[in-house]
Symmetry: D3
Subunit: 284 residues, 6 copies
């Protein structure tokens, strides 16, 4: 039903469609393996979101997993331990092992951070199994929605390591309840949709995956109907303020808007507000 | 019923009264225009809160809007686009437009930040329409209470711009649920009192505006009955810690208290605790 | 029932036992005075947690108060005002008073911060009266659990001072609802277990103290069954990310894991995951 | 010889003239008292620099002291101890003394910081006695030049206090040699022009005051001949980068220039570069 | 004389050779245009340094310009204004111009920052004309050496803009004398090798370009003879400490070395110290 | 000639005397081994400076090495590799090695940082061999003086590791010339007193050790004659400002002085200034 989105057909591990004007839908496409990730996949994912970031035809992104069973079961541990990120092979020297591991981790982190760096809002829809890397990726999204059947876990301690692709860096910043954050990160226990809602990890729970995708798309369509100058500035400033003092953030905002107020979007938005018409905004 | 507060009669756009000893009540006084703001108003508001900040007769502030329909409908967009902050006129050079816009925004931000900088706790009572600038102002208050009929919206994207007077700088710091913060800021959708309570934007919802003002006043009276040295130090340190590391905050607190423990308030407070009497604290 | 833990018998004010392998239980042991603290006690507490931090036989800590009436009623104000921290005696010179007060406060803060610096996760169980210093200490714990009868208060303004041992530095960082944080800190009002749960100060409420201790111990046992390399890294990185930008936190995480991935725990954890056996991890 | 500058005649303690187009010269005008400062003077100075900051007729500022004997001998200690900043009178309560002192110091600091916040470059010319507050003010200037006879001292420890108006906050950031910074701040010893040059406190020493003023004016004229968009952006970004990470500074710079590149100054500057003519830039 | 370095022959705008084991020499290769840069060149430069960063055959890098007349005359302004970075064409909407400009600047900055991010020490040799972008690039290098004939200028204000590729972000951090930094950045005046040495912009001046290259190569050979684990860790930690508090830097250093002390380089280095032999270190 | 200082006789590795009232002289006392350090020594040094920090009889500290040949040759590498800090023995698991190494390094860093944390100014006198740990310690001192024969080296890369006890964290903050900092840290080359002076690592060079000690003592006597409230506040604020923004530093300074201006030292200092007498200040 969704239209294809021009320029994304060469990607192998992700389905990219356009369910509505200015809205992109990215699906992790390895359902037979519960959308588990290996190195090629995350490198490609970084490229997908970098492309969406500058694509003038995209103003909001929905991100989900293909298939019914899982958003993602996280890292494909088998692949990772066979010559992958968990086994920088061929050295017995601790410092050289560490150097290669560090480079691997940076590259991996960069691919995932591309979701956060994407200039357009990203709405992630979690469903089914959503563990490990699934949490790292969700923390990079702007808005988190899930279906009732989602089974979440910050799973990394169960494979003997501290999560290093972003969950531990972002979760304490996007959720207020640190007692809960520590509890789920230290115990690797599962939690369900209701618990995720009550602590504010997701802002909405829908009956099932289909409804969740619908809700996300509706929200994406709403956001995409607004001025892209306003929307993208809002995302940028919210992310900036998360990590800077109020004084620094106010200053950055003023400098940002000193350029961005020079926009035809203001008069277009105001006029359509008065005339009760749908505004059209120039591409960005 | 409220007594007048000495020294505030010259203000034009705000009603300032004293419902109880050491408590001030500030009302935005343009109900016929839903308490919408134009430049003169916010400049005056900055002066009101600067004066309250150092006024020894004030130990807690209640802040609300006059009239039944709105706490505030935000910026008076019509005024703003006619020679106001949204139209720094008389230049076609982008860099010169930007320079004037930046100076305008700084001045506007400073006026609103005066609420946060006020040394005395500020309890804001939201009611009716509370959008745009209403949110910017509320984020500067220490405590947020609202009536059941409040209709909130971070409205700025609907007029084609990213909010630049403080909402985007403060909201992610005062609410834990970032998925929700992003949702309401990016979509400009309305939310009601119950939603505001559930995500922690307000800490209490009352039946109607009258009851909300009552509750805020009762809380203000309680706070005003405590040692002003203790109360104002608590506000200062909480705001400082919001933006500094725990180590820096602990150090700042120790230096702060090394002066403030030299206070007659300690013995007064302890004595009244033992004697079950109401303590009297020297003016501050 | 609990076994003793080797090496902790010389402590006077705290009971330290081991309810399960790799789990320590620390009890404040002054129940006849509602577990109120005087200087000797907090200095000793700093030593207890410093020792637990490096003890290879400990992988998780439960922290509670002895007796049924109180986790802790906070500072023993009587002791403090008789030659204690609230009365740095023997000087009328303000700057010299301040210098001694500052040194006192730093020493006190350091003792309490030892809970946070402990490399092993600390689960605090609050019960009964839990005010003043009880809140400072709880904020340093990783996970907060309480019994239904807990009566909380950030009590310091009632004795005429701004809390300076950590509550004001940590509370705004571990709870999302700042309106509520300000309300309870500025008013010193009591709040109960349900309110504590709803704002996310605790992540679980149990029927009574016995059940709360049981729940905490069960959770501690679960955490202690995981790789200590993974668990302690997770605590460290979560605390680091709370106060650093995402970019800095990601970098720190990568450097941390470049060393910590060189662990036999990974293969042990993965193997036991496949074989469905309980892994054994080398001491740390 | 200097022309007067429109709009500055009402200032009492400062002479403001215009030695060349777009250049302002501010002189501290209390030579009979070695240009020592009392409260009225620094409040006025704050206003002078705030006005220069937005004055489109000013693109560079020279700042010096009237008379031959002193740039400034600093705080008028006699005035300060008679009801001034060093004696917040009328209280014996340490915490209330501290509160008033703090407010005094903030106000004083703000007046001096106006030199730094002035959007136009400020070149200070030091000469003769230049101690205490003279150093605080100089540290706020962008460029420091002096005459051979200048006698400098960070004098505050000699009156029993740590300098609190800015020297200790800025000196370690504008000079690389911290061993020297500590030496002069802790000992209050005098240093001369050659020493100031060798450690980089001043970037030039001239034969006498007349020549130093000439050199400063020549440099101001040169700077004033450049694009004000380029010059003021350069000052802003250099000050920003002094206190932010390289990554934050690069980001801020890009956002700044995204607005400021939309300037007719670029083509004007380039054209005049090619044609070897003097460019004219629109007012800013 | 220099050997070629495997894997770098496909680069078009840079000559990359190996004057000694483990030493790479990168030369900007557009001498006929004074090594001025256009977009293709800086993108390629980013790739060159990214490759050197991970190349196990490289332990130190010398960076210079081909030809006798210039290290680099900076941005090729003609190219930049014809469809290049200074003219994001095809839009009259200020906010859209700004968006494209911002993306351009980020990409440009990233290419230059690759010099700083290169894990191996980079020694830049400045000679002849070295202005604009030449300064941006030099600030990214670890060590700056120049020949007597070098003519430096932070030239950007002369073309009507604030330097935005890194000079203003880095210069105040690598030189102590801020009065001088402001002077040269605000005036765009030229300065020579002696002045550069006296303010610490370069740490050595050689008679001519040949001697400067020799000196740089000798230093690179010396550095390349040391343990690469020690050298690369030293660069990383020095860059980290430049922008973090001492406490954070000490912590980062400890975590870094907890991995890097697990190196055969320690015993190799110590043994060769005792035996007075030249140590051999494993590739990194 | 120097008097003994009460309370320091139990220290084994350091000679502590009092050459003048309120001045302490600390000498590293292992001249037969060039004052090289093993673990017991640095732990004791931490205790020495912690004690001096709060000792009311000490207002300034001179720090040097006993004997003529060396201030210190740094870490006793032989001791360190035989069961010391460089060989956390008894584990082949990389993550467990790392954990022990990290704890070792923190403890070592803390001992050295005690010099910086000492509330009294510390003047270090370098002489003869001054390498490795000698530089780490000197960077913690406030003022650095040396004799002509000093031979400096940041020696760590020569033993295969990045310096991790503080040199790399502090050197870029106390010296402006980063090109030189990188050069000496990456090459481990020696530099002499004149070079140290020219880059600002030391602020004075004296003919020989005796003269250097004399000069340091004279400076210490001068500093000790000033108000200890003023001197210790100056040290504290300078160290704070080194790592905080100007705005944060100004705020911290105001809060600090709000307590410290309540000092009898102000009137004592002013009076003695008028009467030309030597002031006496109460102990601190």
């Amino acid at each position: 039903m969704s239209a294809t989105l021009d320029g994304y057909t060469s990607f192998k591990h992700f389905l990219i469609s356009s369910p509505a004007e200015y809205v992109a839908h990215v699906e992790i496409n390895r359902p037979e393996k519960l959308n588990a990730f290996f190195e090629d996949m995350w490198l490609e994912m970084g490229q997908v979101f970098a492309k969406l970031s500058h694509d003038p035809n995209v103003r909001a992104v929905v991100f989900s997993g293909a298939g019914d069973r899982a958003f993602s079961s996280g890292l494909d541990v088998q692949a990772a331990s066979q010559g992958g990120v968990l086994s920088p092979a061929g050295t017995s020297d601790g410092s050289r092992f560490a150097t290669r591991a560090r480079r691997h981790i940076y590259e991996f982190q960069d691919s995932i951070s591309a979701i956060e760096k994407c200039e357009k809002p990203v709405i992630v829809v979690l469903h089914g199994i959503s563990i490990g890397l699934a949490i790292d990726m969700s923390c990079c999204a702007d808005i988190r929605i899930c279906s009732k059947d989602t089974r979440f876990s910050v799973k990394e301690v169960d494979i003997g390591l501290a999560a290093d692709i972003g969950t531990l860096s972002r979760l304490p910043k996007i959720i207020g309840n640190h007692s809960w954050v520590k509890e789920v990160c230290l115990s690797a226990r599962f939690f369900d949709a209701d618990e995720a809602l009550s602590v504010g990890f997701v802002s909405r729970v829908l009956e099932n995956k289909v409804k969740a995708i619908e809700a996300a798309t509706t929200l994406a369509v709403l956001i995409a109907s607004k001025s892209p100058v306003a929307v993208q500035g809002t995302k940028e400033i919210l992310n900036h303020s998360r990590e800077n003092s109020v004084a620094d953030s106010l200053r950055y905002t003023a400098v940002w808007n000193s350029a961005m107020l020079q926009s035809s979007d203001l008069s277009a938005a105001m006029l359509s507000g008065i005339k009760k018409t749908k505004p059209r905004f120039e591409k960005l």
